[in-house]
């Protein structure tokens, strides 16, 4: 790997940090110009274009940076852990993070070119479902058409969309974090069509083995 010029790394993070602050503020993205962003970051216009080319790419980078940080903070439960442990552990932390940054994420997710960001988020979610959740082995064991990755993306997209709409809610009653975690839990199981037999198989595998039983 080519070692990056530290100055270039610094100017890139300065731009991401400046954009993150602008996303946190009440200012609308439409009213933001490249000039505003480079001024806030203390870099030149050519530097901006060298790193990002256009605003939507910087928005995506800033949002992904913050989200990846949140994902990294959420412990990856062991495969043998129960579904409830996984769902509560993963989605409670994630939803609390999103709720705490609601202005930021709503702006980023509805901005022009947000499709690429949605893809990133769905990709992160799908990987969690497939690689560290108790659903993972079930999705891999299926002999349905399509790949486990397709199945995980389907579930991740459904979850992403519900959470996206949830960001517009008042976060109380059925939209409280605790209630929303339970809704997501039930929807994932329902949409994946998980049966008691499948659960029993995964249980048996994870009780006997020491993890890595996904391909059994």
């Amino acid at each position: 790997m080519v070692r990056e010029d530290p100055r270039s790394v610094r100017s890139r993070s300065a731009l991401i940090e400046a954009m993150a602050e602008l996303l946190d503020s009440e200012a609308s993205l439409e009213s933001l110009s490249v000039t505003d962003v480079v001024r806030a970051a203390g870099v030149s216009r050519p530097t901006f274009y060298q790193h990002f080319g256009e605003m939507s790419l910087l928005v995506r980078a800033a949002a992904l940076h913050r989200l990846a940080g949140a994902f990294a903070d959420i412990p990856e439960v062991a495969l043998g852990e129960s579904w409830t442990t996984f769902v509560r552990g993963t989605f409670r932390g994630l939803l609390l993070h999103l709720q705490g940054n609601v202005v930021f994420y709503k702006k980023a997710l509805t901005s022009g070119g947000s499709q690429a960001l949605s893809e990133d988020v769905i990709g992160l979610l799908a990987a969690r479902l497939l690689d560290v959740s108790p659903l993972g082995p079930i999705l891999r064991n299926r002999t349905l058409v399509g790949s486990p990755e397709d199945r995980a993306a389907f579930l991740a997209a459904g979850t992403f969309w519900l959470v996206n709409r949830w960001l517009d809610s008042d976060f109380t009653g059925p939209d409280s974090v605790a209630a929303m975690v339970d809704r997501i839990s039930l929807l994932l199981l329902t949409a994946a069509g998980v049966t008691d037999d499948e659960i029993a198989v995964v249980r048996a595998q994870t009780d006997v083995g020491s993890g890595g039983s996904a391909q059994a």
Binding site: A153, F154, A157, L162, L187, T190, A191
Partner: protein, 216 residues
């Protein structure tokens, strides 16, 4: 109201709107993900003030154009009967029609989803598909519209499944541009039908009640 009952200015307004929708469609077809107002009005043979009379910005025009495309798709699939036995097969036929139609307009959809209207179009499409799932799937209708304990609310299930389906279709459209011949239209239709059926059929079995407990 028949055309003859409309005043001449109403007719002109309607025609200029249709011309703008057609023009942006052509530009999106050609792979232009961010058509400018200048190019749109030039191609439509209208003026900028006429543009602004109908649409606030190009994203709004793209959204309207995508909506027209969706109306065409649903006009084709809405008459398909899903009530009798063998409805799974009918759903497969329905999905095949959808995928073929999207495939015919793949450059259009890929451009829209790479541009500023992506979020709104995704939002509209998921809402329309979710409405159809609620209206036409007997299993979702029976699954507790009030969201009784242990079973997900019909609104949640329909949105979740709609988002998964729409996402896989749009993702396929977007990917196919970059790497040709990933999956054929028939394969994508089959995959989507199977994933939908798993989610829907499972509700039929009424097993959701026990899931939470079984996995705790």
């Amino acid at each position: 109201m028949s055309d003859s009952a409309l005043g001449a200015s109403d007719l002109r307004t309607r025609r200029s709107k249709a011309a703008l929708v057609r023009a942006v469609g052509e530009l999106l077809d050609s792979g232009d993900t961010r058509p400018s107002i200048t190019n749109v009005v030039a191609l439509a043979g209208t003026s900028r003030p006429t543009f602004y009379q109908h649409f606030g910005d190009v994203a709004a025009l793209q959204r309207a154009a995508a909506h027209e495309e969706l109306d065409l798709v649903f006009a084709q699939i809405d008459p398909i009967d899903l009530t009798g036995p063998g409805w799974e097969r009918a759903l497969q036929d329905l999905m095949t029609l959808v995928v073929e139609r999207i495939d015919q307009r793949r450059d259009f959809f890929a451009s829209v989803m790479a541009g500023p209207a992506a979020f709104d179009v995704l939002s509209d499409t998921v809402a329309i598909v979710a409405d159809r799932i609620i209206a036409r799937s007997p299993s979702v209708a029976a699954s507790g519209s009030s969201g009784s304990p242990g079973s997900p609310a019909a609104a949640d299930v329909s949105r979740f499944l709609a988002a998964g389906t729409v996402w896989l279709l749009l993702d396929w459209v977007g990917r196919a541009g970059a790497e040709p011949a990933t999956e054929s239209a028939a394969e994508v239709a089959f995959l989507n039908t199977q994933l939908l059926l798993v989610g829907l059929a499972f509700l039929d079995a009424g097993q959701t009640q026990t899931l939470g407990k079984a996995l705790s």
